[in-house]
């Protein structure tokens, strides 16, 4: 009996084996076709290097060499092994002999619309070469909560820095409210692998790309419906590509009353408006909570911390270089013994404000152009020189 059944077993095992191998080959063919189709149908995306993150909400994918778009501008973007904008794609040493500065901030500090070499961090990196290495972990729509999480993530990864310079932006007031319920997931190998796989599929798999773009479009449409302020092309004077990004950061924010209020989207004017001043204060308070957490973490790691504020067009046109917002942050910094740099006077002086915005900002945009960046780089270089001199004394 046993002898008789042996060939049947072998046959069935062979059948099973050939079934699995056929399935595997079929799968491989499907994947190959999917990726070939992806090569043909996935258009060049100027946001492909941006990625969600399980711990610090969103950031930049590491080792990218691509083009980004901002408004009507196209500019090259390169990221290093830690997913930071940089002059080249390279492996960052977690520990160096040179003192190291870590810049944290949002789109202003990331340098949207401007090639890295012309951004303040690129210029600073060049001018301080030999004295101090510069790393820039900034990213669009960051605010103190996300900046704190990003710093924590980098420290836990083993990155050593000597000083953190954090540029607080006016939009942080709004971002803090939007990210209030964001909970970072645990750092794990599985999360890391899942997010990397998703990033790969989004940029290479035709099926994943199509599904993802349908979801993205639906979500953007939903946002546009809620925020009645916008039309399909964005607000007049707002480029559609920036609007898509803007919409994506509001996923998970479900205060429809606020979303549908046009004034909510004009965060630059919040603290001039009695009704929105409370919201502005709330946003500032939330931000300050995380700056204090960052400060505690910096003290533990023996890392210096400086914060700064800079104006938008509205503040420049108002012409007050020491307004309510500056005062709020300055008194907070003084009270908590944090170094503070006010960048408002760089852009608010006796010059006609209309001319200032034309000279130092991207057209119809609150972000600096290359000359604005040069101005900031110059100021920060002086600041670090003063720091160095006082340390020597």
């Amino acid at each position: 009996m046993v002898k008789k059944s042996q060939p049947a077993n072998i046959e069935s095992t062979q059948k099973k084996g050939s079934f699995w191998s056929q399935l595997l080959i079929s799968l491989l063919i499907v994947v190959a076709l999917d990726i070939i189709a992806g090569f043909i149908i996935i258009p060049q995306s100027y946001t492909s290097f941006r990625t969600p993150h399980y711990f610090y909400h969103h950031g930049l994918q590491s080792d990218q060499d691509t083009w980004a778009a901002w408004g009507s501008s196209l500019y090259p973007v390169k990221t290093n092994s830690l997913g930071m904008v940089d002059s080249a794609v390279y492996e960052v040493d977690l520990v160096t002999k040179n003192p190291r500065l870590l810049i944290l901030g949002d789109s202003h500090s990331e340098g949207v619309g401007v090639p890295y070499e012309k951004t303040f961090s690129g210029l600073l990196s060049k001018s301080m070469k030999g004295d101090m290495d510069v790393l820039n972990a900034s990213c669009i729509s960051y605010s103190p909560k996300i900046e704190y999480l990003k710093a924590q993530f980098l420290f836990e990864k083993g990155l050593q820095v000597d000083h953190i310079f954090l540029l607080i932006d006016i939009s942080d007031m709004q971002n803090e409210l939007v990210y209030e319920n964001f909970q970072p997931q645990n750092r794990s190998w599985a999360n890391e692998a899942w997010y990397s796989t998703k990033f790969f599929l989004k940029n290479h798999s035709s099926v994943f790309y199509l599904v993802n773009s349908i979801i993205d479009k639906r979500e953007t449409r939903k946002f546009l419906e809620k925020a009645k302020f916008f039309n399909e092309e964005g607000v007049v004077g707002t480029p559609a590509n920036s609007l898509g990004l803007y919409a994506s950061f509001f996923r998970g924010f479900d205060d429809n009353v606020l979303l549908s209020n046009p004034q909510f989207h004009g965060v630059g004017e919040w603290y001039y408006n009695e009704r929105f001043k409370k919201l502005a204060d709330r946003g500032i308070e939330l931000g300050q909570e995380y700056i204090l957490k960052l400060k505690a973490m910096c003290e533990e790691k023996k890392v210096g911390l400086t914060i700064s504020v800079h104006p938008w067009h509205y503040q420049i046109l108002n012409g007050n270089a020491h307004d309510y917002y500056v005062e709020k942050w300055e008194s907070f910094a003084n009270k908590n013994n944090i170094d503070f740099v006010n960048l408002f006077p760089l852009f608010i002086d006796s010059q006609n404000p209309v001319i200032t915005t034309k000279m130092f900002f991207i057209k119809d945009d609150n972000h600096w152009n290359e000359f604005g960046h040069a101005k900031v780089a110059n100021r920060l270089e002086r600041y670090f020189q003063q720091q160095k001199n006082s340390a020597i004394k």
Partner: protein
């Protein structure tokens, strides 16, 4: 032999890239009559062509001119930088970048580029006129900077702002003129503010003749000089 083996693939790639370039040109052509709301699409299409292809210098330069025309000066500067990597000796590229710098009031860079363009092509009338006009503008610009300095020390800024507005008009900075006149209109009587607001709304209704309208406003405020 090796080249012959790869020839079909190279031909396919060549035709594919030709087609992509034509598509890019067609897109730009379709945006020729775009309205103000589509200016970002126009700017982006121009930048896309220059950054991806840009081999046709004459065509690329028309796109840089388009960027300057719609006021995307920073983009025009970067587009020229990309083109200069391929055509480093083209004089008109320096002229165009100089023009974009001038529009951003970055006169040091502007004069450097305009001088360089003229050095490469000394007989070019457009370049020499452009350089002369930028030099003249710089004189007015320096006067504006001097006025800015007095503004911080002057007790009554009416006169300084008025002079500055006149100079901004001379260099066609109409928004800047309006801003200074707006500040002046709040310094004397309520009637001045009312006059200013009325004229601004007229200006926005009739955008064709800004110089005449602004000159009229300047004339009104000239009459108020010295009064308190």
């Amino acid at each position: 032999m090796r080249l012959m083996r790869h020839l079909p693939v190279l031909i396919v790639i060549f035709f594919f890239s030709c087609d992509a370039e034509n598509t890019s040109r067609k897109k730009i052509a379709s945006l020729q009559n775009a309205d103000q709301n589509q200016k970002y699409q126009v700017g982006m299409a121009c930048m896309q062509y220059i950054s991806r292809y840009g081999e046709d210098l004459a065509y690329s330069k028309t796109l840089v001119k388009k960027l300057i025309e719609i006021g995307f000066f920073a983009e025009a500067i970067y587009a020229v930088e990309l083109l200069l990597e391929k055509f480093p000796g083209d004089p008109e590229l320096f002229y165009l970048r100089g023009t974009a710098y001038r529009n951003q009031h970055q006169y040091d860079f502007a004069l450097k580029d305009l001088n360089h363009a003229l050095k490469l092509q000394p007989a070019n009338n457009t370049f020499s006129t452009g350089l002369r006009s930028a030099q003249e503008e710089l004189v007015t610009w320096n006067e504006i900077q001097s006025l800015n300095e007095t503004l911080t020390t002057s007790a009554d800024s009416f006169d300084v702002l008025f002079q500055r507005a006149e100079k901004f008009l001379a260099i066609r900075q109409y928004d800047a003129v309006l801003f200074d006149l707006g500040a002046i209109s709040k310094m004397r009587t309520t009637a001045d503010s009312i006059y200013f607001n009325q004229k601004v709304s007229e200006l926005y209704k009739d955008t064709q003749r800004p110089v005449e309208k602004l000159s009229e406003m300047l004339e009104y405020f000239r009459g108020l000089k010295g009064t308190k």
